[in-house]
Every structure is written in structure tokens, then in C-alpha cells.
Amino acid sequence: MLLEFEKPIADLELKLQEMKELAKGRKIDLSADIQSLEEKIQILKKETFQNLTRWQRVQLSRHADRPYALDYIYEMTNDFVELHGDRTVKDDKAMIGGLGDLDGRSVMFIGQQKGRNTKQRQERNFGMANPEGYRKALRLMKMAEKFGKPIVTLIDTPGAFPGLEAEERGQGEAIARNLKEMFMLKVPVICIIIGEGASGGALGIAIGDKVYMLENTWYSVISPESCSSILWRSWDYKEQAAEALKLTATDMKNNGLIDGIIEEPLGGAHKDMKNMAKTIKSTILEALKELDKIKPEKRTDQRIDKFCSMGVFVE
């Protein structure tokens, strides 16, 4: 699956492959041509990915090949034990969690999980958690606190699920409780937007001492499509809505709403998952080193102060 702006690059890459095949079989020296084509591809890649529009970044965040939470967790950890259920209603497959070993340090991982094929997508409910998902997340966070393990959340959701049962079981209450409880957690909390960060559904696991966004992700109060449909009364203004919402990692960093941006491999996280996981892992370890030095009470105070300073108004 290719996005529109990935196609010219993919075409050239195909050409390069053909040329390499050709060179292999015969005795003609194509190395000069190959090198020049490789350079051309590199330049095109840089040009394309350094000048992405906001909407194009939204598209990348939803790329069909993009790594999901469990992909990163299994890549980063030596041991990972997945834990299930909210102990009340059921196990929400759109929200995953468990203990993992990160270079000798046990970490509680929590995140929304999307599916790769139709069956998985249904099972994971497209990464849209129900209230029991948020309650499962909170249960695991409390467990982490009990055993003194830091928490890492990986956020990737088009929103909390807007369904009938979700309302019956208190979607609003579940998210609200998580926000409040996460401020009081005595262990370090690191939150990383790895794909889509849609509104309360994302925020419900995104109250952290450090909040990072991968380079090609988005985080806002509403998706560009829904924003278009409400404010422009049509689905056709998603590009404008994406521009207006200022929802990219750079925008959010410039507005002081996140702590940092994690760079992606050229072409996006899906082009080199292993390296992406490595960068994420080193970011987590680096952040933990910093957060370990702070006393738990001070850490929660700082967490509260950081979010309380967000907002722009005049008096």
C-alpha cells in the first residue's frame, strides 16, 4: 500500500532494483548509473519528507504498514508478559498492556493496538478502546505503582469508541478517572504518540512526566475529517482542517503541549521498524535516567504544574 507522495520514490526504487538485476546478469558496468539513481532517490526522499503537509503527516500516521504498539514492544524488550482484562467486564483488545524488560529494567507498557488485516482490525476495534480498555489501563498503572515500575504508554487511536455499550458503561467516566489518577501516580510516566492521537481517547493514557510524539504522527482534540464535517459542514475540507488544527509533532512542540519529538527514519517509521524501535527505546531510557533523579512527590507536582500551565488567554 503506497500513499500518493510515496509513489514517485517507489517508482525510482523499482527502477534501481531492475538496474541492479540487469548489472548482475551481464558484464556491463552500470555502477555509475546505479550510484546516480541512488543519489537521485535520496534527494527525492529528502525533498518529499522534509516538506510534508500536515495532512500528509496524518496519512503517514495511519499508513497500512506502520508499526503498532506490540510491534515496538516485542522489538524493544527481551521478555514481555502481556496482561489482560479490567477485572470487571472483559478484556479490551484495543488496549494492550504488560510487563517488559527494557535493558534489565522492568517497565509497564500500555498502549492502543490496531490490527493489520480485516480480522485483526475487527478484533482490535481499529484501536478504539471501550471503557473497559481505559479501566484495564488504569489497573495496570496501579499495579506498576504498587511494584514501583515505571510506565510507558504508546498512543495510537482514532478515538475512544463511540458505541452504545461504551456509553452504557461510562466511556466519559473511564477516561476522566484515568486523567485524574495518572496525575497522582508515584512512578515515572512516559507517553509516546506512535500514530494517531485523537482527543480524549488518546489523552486517557497520555498524562505523563514526558510526552513525546514520533515525527509523523498527529495529536489533537479532533480528527481533521470530523473537524471538517463540523466546522465546514462537509467532509471535503480535511486538508484545511489539518492545517488549522496545527496537529503535527512540530506544531505541538512549538505550542509547548508536548515535551519532545522523536525522529523517524527517512520515509517514515514503517520503512525501518527496527531502527525506529531502537530510537524509541533510547528515548525512554534517557527519560527514565532523568526522571529517576526526581523524588516521587516532586515528580507528580511537576507533572501537574506542566499541564496546568497549558492554555492561552488574556486578562
Binding site: 477516561i175 489523552l203 489533537s220 466546522l231 488544527l245 501537574i304 499541564f307 488567554f313
Partner: protein, 280 residues
């Protein structure tokens, strides 16, 4: 024969051509009865014929709850900035200006401190007239400061919610107001100061998913629409009509997310009883 005849079906007046009816002396209830506005006011803005709770704003709630309508307003002059220079069908700052002059409100929430049957209380009350009661930086900050006032003076906090949710024109900033208000409520919780959340018609979206659902006591007015996702979105998601009474206060009570539903005429006394019970 009727002295006028509607030739076209439905209302075709465009939004710009709609005329505001002057504030008259008479009010027509949903049942069709005409009552004097003084009668309505004396009945806490509840229709006497069918107990319908008319949608009211901070001015009316303050009048109902504060003794003698005496209160000190907090952060009266705070207004919205336009951090994102947001433009949809019109620029956000123009929308703000127009709404301020139309509603004579500075934003969608007002906070005040005063006495309720002799008990000190801090009340933040939302105004739906102001861009659908949407929560932006001003709403978040004013609620946060009202909670600070409660914390500092050890006074119970009452939040009256009435909102369509977050304010899109402040995008990421508006989202973080959910976090900010929840953080302050965590501190209030820790300090052991009572927080009562009154949900009125309608309370949805990011407001439901933050302070509105975090009360020590979550209470609601009869028939209020309360939910996270709006009914239209849910209908589109599940592709079915919603059951009758879905997302009504009564439905939310039945599912365990409210402590009780309160008729507005009994609101002040019931809140006082609650505070008394906590005090003794």
C-alpha cells in the same frame, strides 16, 4: 380557513436572516401553555405544567443558588486568546468578539464565591450560549482557578456543566484543558474538600470525559442529555436507531454513573443538606 397558509414545508430561513425574538413577558412552554416569565423565574425556570427544565445560564443558576443573589465573581475579565490563529468559515477571534457582544459574556464559564443557605461555596457554571458551552483555554483556566480558590479557602466546589465538549478552534490547547481541570480536581480530592458535579442539558464530549464525571457526587437535572459521544455519531457508528431515553440523565443514573437526579426547584436545599451531612 386559516388567515395564513404555509406554502413551503419546513423552515427555510437561513441562519443570518433569523430574527431574535425580543425578551418578552410571556413564555411558551413545550406543552404550548403561555405563562408569565415572572412565574417561570419564581419556579426556578421549570415549567409548572410539565416540569420541563428550561435551559438557563450562569446568571440564573447564581440567582437560584447564592443567598440573596450575593456573590463575588472570580476572574471576570479573562478572555480567549487565539493561539492557533484559527480560521474556519470565519476567524476565531471574530467569532469570539461577535459572541461576546451578543451574549454579554466573556466566555463559556463564570466562577463565583458566596453563601448558599449560609454555607460557603465556590460555583463554576457554564453558559451554553457561548459557542455551545465549548471548553477552551479560558474555561479550563477559570475552572482551575475556582478549584484553587476552593483549595486555598477550604470551601466546597460546585461545578455546573452544560457543554457540547471541547472547543475545536483551540485544538491541542482545548484538549489539554481536560488534563488541567482533572489535575486540579486530583488536588482537591487529596485535600478532602467536597466536589459536587451537576450535569445539565447537555453535557457531552471532553467535558463529560473530564471534570463533569469526577465529582464526589455526580448529580444531574431531569432529562438532561449526558454522554461522551454525541447521539448522531453513535447512530452513524452502529448504523441503528438509538433506544428511547438513551443518554438521558435517567439512563446514566440507571447505569451507575450518577448519585441522584434533582429537580431544579429542590437543588439549593438538597445541596445544603448534603453539605450539612458532610459537616456534622
Amino acid at each position: 380557513m386559516a388567515w395564513f397558509k404555509r406554502t413551503d414545508k419546513g423552515i427555510k430561513t437561513s441562519t443570518e436572516d433569523k430574527k431574535d425574538a425580543p425578551d418578552g413577558l410571556w413564555f411558551k412552554t413545550p406543552k404550548g401553555n403561555i405563562i408569565h416569565t415572572r412565574e417561570l423565574k419564581n419556579n426556578s425556570y421549570v415549567c409548572p405544567d410539565d416540569d420541563y427544565h428550561v435551559k438557563i445560564g450562569s446568571k440564573e443558576y447564581f440567582e437560584i443558588l447564592f443567598d440573596g443573589n450575593n456573590f463575588k465573581e472570580l476572574d471576570t475579565n479573562m478572555r480567549s486568546g487565539d493561539p492557533l490563529k484559527f480560521v474556519d468559515s470565519k476567524p476565531y477571534n471574530a467569532r469570539i468578539e461577535a459572541t461576546i457582544s451578543k451574549t454579554e459574556l466573556n466566555d463559556a464559564v463564570r466562577s463565583a464565591v458566596g453563601k448558599m443557605n449560609g454555607f460557603d461555596i465556590v460555583i463554576s457554571c457554564m453558559d451554553f450560549n457561548f459557542i455551545g458551552g465549548s471548553m477552551g483555554s479560558v474555561v479550563g483556566e477559570k475552572i482551575a482557578r475556582a478549584i484553587d480558590h476552593s483549595l486555598k479557602n477550604k470551601i466546597p466546589f460546585l461545578m455546573i456543566s452544560k457543554s457540547g465538549g471541547a472547543r475545536m478552534m483551540e485544538a491541542g490547547f482545548s484538549l489539554m484543558q481536560m488534563a488541567k481541570t482533572s489535575a486540579k480536581l486530583a488536588l482537591l480530592d487529596k485535600a478532602g474538600i467536597p466536589y459536587i458535579s451537576l450535569l445539565t442539558d447537555p453535557t457531552t464530549g471532553g467535558v463529560t470525559a473530564s471534570y463533569a464525571m469526577l465529582g464526589d457526587f455526580n448529580i444531574a437535572e431531569p432529562g438532561a442529555l449526558i454522554g461522551f459521544a454525541g447521539p448522531r455519531v453513535i447512530r452513524e457508528t452502529i448504523g441503528k436507531d438509538l433506544p428511547k431515553g438513551f443518554q438521558s440523565a435517567e439512563f446514566v443514573l440507571e447505569h451507575g454513573f450518577l448519585d441522584f437526579i434533582i429537580d431544579r426547584r429542590q437543588l439549593k436545599n438538597r445541596l445544603t443538606t448534603l453539605l450539612k451531612l458532610l459537616n456534622n
